[in-house]
């Protein structure tokens, strides 16, 4: 950047000179400076011979007009030139227009650069203006002196050039520098020289960069618009001029395509944002309740996306192929409702429990046949089933970990605690809050956080009775443990009881007895957190710590419940497997008795056809597991919705309408409106997802169900939040919690895949249902595929590869790699800290140096003033040389604003400041000497 600005300052010298003459006084305020800038623009315009009155607020019409005006102006000028220089006629019209173009180009480059450097200068000054008020005026002056000198020099150079191009026109007047400039160029006969071409190219590239970075500049829109228009105009004109002949066409084509591509990208971007579901809904919530509530909905949407993909996988690769290409319903026993259940198979109560026809459909594991290939596509159904099951889990792991890593990247910088107070001060307000109540809560929470921080800083908090608090905390934890154990036992008890009921036959029992397990689990999930909340008041923790404890306890509760449920299920699986053995034995007996009469007579006789519904069959534990999970999900969903309706909606309605005729203020007093419980809802969502992951292998319909549930939740909860919730008082910061949610999700993912993998690996599949029936283990399907569908060498290679002798070293290698990466990341972190320290030190040093330099500049300036006063008389005669001398004296002073310039603009951490400065010095020195 410094180099850029240097070039720019060379080029914009004339203009600086112009406005310098009029307004030398110190301009300290930005307002003034802006005015001056505008004034300078005007002047420049006038200097260019464009009779245009630039008012302070340039209107759009003016902008458009200007284009036309400029055009006219140009024509007029051309005419004048033609009259003036009739000798140049032989060059022909084409040459003239071309040269004209060149002139324009050069001028435009200059204009542009001038403008940019001005802006940069201004911005730089702005940052410093408060501090260096005293110096600013002088500084500017010295800058201008310096540039004046350069201007002069440049003019000289130009004149030389003019001479070289053997144009006899002499520059007589200095005041219309620009005009003269353009005339010079127009006289020049040949088209662009290589250097100029290079320059032009550079300028075009600069413009492009400028256009791209324009939106990231903190300028008012008007300025941005003007700059954009000008640079676009410039680009349109001169992009085509680059390149020659064929290359030129190609270039133009490339430029055109580039433009089209940009437009397409922009449209695509718009389209993409339009495609994000519920964006407006979430934004609305965001603007009412702040970012923490919105973070729940964003999380919900994210979950929805994941479930969509899981659903797509299972639906497209498992359910649809089986439904379309597999054997139809009723063809084999596993696809038929048994005779005993046929009567009630269509009853709603049975279907609601996912029995009857629902049980014998693609929704559950048991329906799938073990044919190796189905349909005309020869679709490998069992393999596909297995791979989809594995793929679901693998995909989930991948997504969760990737998201975590990205979040960590985003918030990774905020790991240190060194700006605790400043962050509280500068970043604690959530600008999204658009609800006065939320704002009040936020005020309160910010105030408390300030007070807390001050208290913590003072370290003056004394515990009045440490023994009592300790005792209470131990007691609270004991109570919570009791709760957890009690709920675990209750679930175990209920599951065992339900097994007994199931053995008796479900029909003999009431609705409650049939749905006991799910109801108990849901109720525990509802009431235990409240109990924990009450218990946690005993502990007297800081609210943030208390919230963490609360979350941890709820997490433990859910996890405990889920695992008790799974253990009970495992018991049931074992029971079913025992049952299966008996059934298997019975079936062989039954088959023997069936064939008893016919076997002895004739082997070729057609086997007796038995309706598949009558064939005895095993208890298919996989379907049972799937059913349990589906029921659990359904009841969980129902409880969530009902709590929402009763706990939020009904409460809100009662509070709102009974408030008129009640003894106390309901809105402010006891029931009041409910808060939106972000953390609780997130936990619920996470556990729900955990159940999906656990059960999806045995019930392929689970992702579909979950998608449905999340879809409904989205609308229902959005509505509930907007209509009957008040924002929460405890503020759970959005960005801080994102990775917390993700970490919980990862834990749950791991814990929920564990039992699923355990059952897949250790328990042999049922003999007469599901895609893996008849195999010893489910994963044998891989082996089978390898043996029959791949060439022999492949299976050989695979068997070698899966040899423990190879696998163990590989695992070892991975562990080593992890260790290595971890230690490198640790050392990076240390290096980071080290660099941070260095940066701070360097910053301080820089500041000191700058201050010194500024002081020195001040003194130099004083001296220079004295000299100036003394030599005011003969200054006129020897203008140029004097200015050069003065500029040399001013050297330190001119340097100061530059330093400020790129420190405030570029990366604040950009250290090697000084080498660059030196470079500017070096670059400047020769020109002075030449002069």
């Amino acid at each position: 950047m410094p180099r850029d600005s240097l070039i720019a300052s060379d080029n914009d010298a004339d203009i600086t000179l112009e406005f310098e003459g009029g307004e030398e006084g110190g301009h300290k305020e930005r307002r003034h400076r802006e005015k001056r800038r505008d004034g300078s623009k005007d002047r420049r315009k006038r200097g260019n011979g464009r009779r245009r009155q630039g008012s302070r607020s340039v209107e759009r019409e003016n902008e458009e007009e200007r284009v036309g005006e400029r055009e006219k102006e140009r024509k007029r000028r051309v005419k004048k030139d033609q009259e003036a220089k009739k000798r140049d006629k032989e060059e022909g019209d084409r040459a003239q227009t071309r040269s004209e173009k060149t002139a324009k180009a050069k001028k435009n480059i200059k204009n542009e650069k001038r403008r940019r450097s001005e802006k940069e200068g201004e911005a730089g000054e702005r940052t410093e203006k408060g501090k260096k008020k005293v110096q600013s005026a002088k500084k500017e002056k010295s800058v201008n002196h310096g540039t004046k000198d350069k201007t002069h020099e440049e003019k000289k150079k130009k004149r030389k050039k003019v001479l070289e191009t053997s144009s006899e026109q002499e520059t007589s007047e200095e005041d219309s520098e620009d005009k003269e400039d353009s005339e010079d160029e127009e006289v020049k006969p040949e088209s662009l020289s290589p250097e100029e071409l290079e320059k032009l190219k550079e300028a075009v590239d600069d413009k492009k960069k400028l256009i791209q970075s324009l939106r990231g500049k903190p300028w008012p829109m008007k300025k941005k618009l003007v700059t954009l228009r000008e640079s676009q105009e410039f680009l349109e004109k001169y992009e085509g001029a680059l390149g020659k002949g064929k290359g030129r066409k190609l270039y133009a084509y490339k430029v055109m395509m580039m433009k089209k591509w940009m437009k397409f990208q922009r449209d695509f971007e718009n389209f993409k944002t339009a495609c994000i579901p519920w964006e407006m809904k979430i934004k609305e919530i965001e603007s009412h309740f702040g970012s923490s509530v919105a973070s729940y909905f964003i999380f919900l949407r994210w979950m929805y996306g994941i479930n969509m993909i899981l659903f797509g996988l299972t639906f497209g690769l498992v359910m649809v192929p089986e439904a379309l290409m597999g054997r139809p319903y009723g063809s084999i026993p596993r696809k038929t409702v048994p005779r005993a259940e046929e009567a009630s198979a269509m009853d709603f109560a049975v279907l609601w429990d996912f029995g009857g026809y629902a049980q014998y459909s693609v929704l559950f594991y048991g329906f799938y046949s073990n044919q190796r290939a189905i349909g005309w596509l020869k679709f490998r159904m069992p393999l596909s089933y297995f791979l989809v099951g594995v793929g679901t889990v693998a995909y989930s792991y991948m997504v969760v970990i990737r998201t975590m890593a990205r979040n960590a990247n985003e918030s990774g910088v905020g790991d240190d605690n060194s700006f605790n107070f400043s962050w509280k001060m500068f970043t604690s307000w959530d600008y999204l809050i658009g609800n006065p109540e939320t704002a009040d809560n936020k005020f309160a929470s910010i105030t408390t956080s300030f007070k807390e921080a001050i208290l913590e800083e003072q370290e003056s908090r004394k515990d009045d009775n440490i023994h009592l608090t300790r005792f209470l905390r131990v007691l609270a934890n004991f109570l919570v443990l009791c709760c957890l154990a009690g709920s675990g036992y209750l679930i175990y008890f209920v599951v065992r009881r339900s097994q007994k009921f199931a053995l008796d036959g479900l029909e003999n029992h009431t609705w409650w007895e049939r749905n006991e397990v799910n109801m108990v689990m849901s109720l525990l999930g509802m009431f235990c957190p409240m109990l924990f909340d009450v218990i946690s008041t005993l502990e007297n923790y800081h609210p943030r710590v208390a919230l963490q404890w609360q979350l941890g306890r709820i997490f433990a509760l859910f996890l405990g419940n889920l695992y008790t449920f799974i253990i009970a299920l495992m018991d049931e699986i074992n029971v079913k497997r025992d049952e299966e053995k008996i059934v298997k034995f019975n079936i062989t007996m039954w088959e023997a008795s069936l064939y008893n009469g016919t076997v002895s007579e004739n082997f070729t006789a057609p086997p007796i056809t038995i309706h598949p519904a009558d064939v005895p069959r095993g208890p298919c534990w996989e379907t049972m597991v799937g059913q349990e999970f589906v029921r659990l999900i359904i009841s969980d969903t129902m409880t969530t919705y009902i709590t929402l309706l009763i706990g939020d909606f009904l409460r809100a309605v009662l509070v709102r309408f009974l408030n008129h005729c009640w003894c106390w203020d309901l809105e402010a007093g006891f029931p009041s409106y409910s808060e939106f419980d972000v953390s609780g809802n997130v936990l619920g969502l996470i556990f729900n997802q955990g159940m999906i992951w656990m059960g999806a292998f045995y019930a392929p319909c689970l992702p579909a169900l979950n998608v449905l549930r999340l879809h409904v939740s989205m609308y229902l909860q959005c509505w509930a939040v907007m209509c009957c919730n008040v924002p929460q008082e405890r503020v759970f910061k959005a960005s801080g919690s994102n990775n917390f949610y993700m970490a919980m999700l990862l834990v749950i993912l791991f814990l929920s895949t564990l039992p699923a993998i355990y059952t897949i690996v250790t328990i042999p599949p049922s003999f007469d249902c599901g895609p893996f029936s008849g195999k010893n283990r489910m994963f044998d399907v891989i082996q089978e595929t390898l043996e029959s569908d791949f060439p022999a060498w492949f299976s050989k290679v695979f068997s070698y590869a899966s040899n423990p002798g190879l696998v163990l070293p590989f695992i070892l290698l991975m562990v080593l790699a992890i260790y290595y990466l971890q230690s490198t990341s640790k050392s990076y972190k240390e290096a980071n800290v080290e660099l941070k320290k260095k940066l701070q030190m360097q910053n301080e040093e820089n500041k000191k140096k700058n201050k010194k330099a500024a002081q020195k500049a001040l003194m130099d300036l004083e001296e220079a003033r004295k000299v100036a006063l003394e030599s005011a008389g003969h200054q006129r005669n020897n203008n140029a040389s004097y200015q050069g001398q003065q500029a040399r004296e001013m050297q330190p002073a001119t340097r100061v604003p530059r330093t400020i310039n790129h420190r405030s603009h570029g990366n604040p951490g950009y250290l090697p400041n000084f080498p660059l400065q030196n470079e500017t010095m070096i670059r400047r020195a020769p020109s002075l000497q030449r002069h």
Binding site: R60, K217, M221, E286, G414, F419, L432, F450, I454, R903
Partner: protein, 189 residues
């Protein structure tokens, strides 16, 4: 600029898209909201401005403690009354949009917090800032002692060159490390 009264034309729209961090839909929405706010007698005037009092009735800004500062910072009016033209309004929304860079957000945040417009955050600015954040009522305000302590702490943390004020680069240095500045420095219509 002149299109506030009628529909936005295509060229303007694409230029606005080029110059702001907003998408097409957002610009159109902003335009709609803006036109709703334009006073009746001004509806035909080109390049009209909405006075600050009307802007502050927007629910998105109503409960923001910095709403007046925001208007003043983004206003380009000559008399510094905080009135906004459509361009200023778009500038505001762009700076507060989702995709705006940290750099531009922190720049404007600095100017919003700089109550006396002197280019640095001095003790006075910080005091005002704290009062804004605590709601400005008596029961939530900090005591003078607490205030002094707080500001001392802040200056100790972020005033790297120890000149008693926080300047833009120091401010940006602090802000760039904050995990949730970008996510909370947002206003959506």
């Amino acid at each position: 600029m002149g299109a506030t009264a009628s529909q936005l034309d295509k060229g303007m729209l694409s230029e606005y898209q080029e110059l702001t961090f907003l998408t097409k839909q957002e610009i159109l929405l902003a335009h709609k909201r803006f036109s709703e706010l334009v006073p009746k007698e001004e509806i035909d005037r080109i390049n009209c401005r909405i006075p600050m009092s009307l802007i502050l009735t927007l629910p998105e800004l109503k409960s923001n403690p910095f709403n007046e500062r925001i208007c003043k910072v983004f206003s380009t009016s000559d008399i510094k009354d905080g009135s906004l033209s459509f361009d200023d309004f778009l500038d505001l929304l762009s700076a507060f949009s989702d995709s705006a860079t940290l750099e531009i957000k922190s720049h404007y945040a600095f100017r919003i917090f700089d109550f006396d417009d002197d280019g640095t955050l001095g003790r006075h600015d910080l005091e005002k800032l704290v009062n804004c954040l605590t709601g400005g009522t008596d029961d939530t305000n900090l005591t003078p002692d607490e205030m002094r302590q707080l500001i001392d702490n802040i200056l100790e943390e972020s005033d790297i060159d120890k000149d008693g004020t926080v300047n833009l680069s120091e401010f940006q240095h602090v802000i760039s490390r904050s995990p949730d500045f970008v996510s909370s420095f947002k206003i959506v219509l």
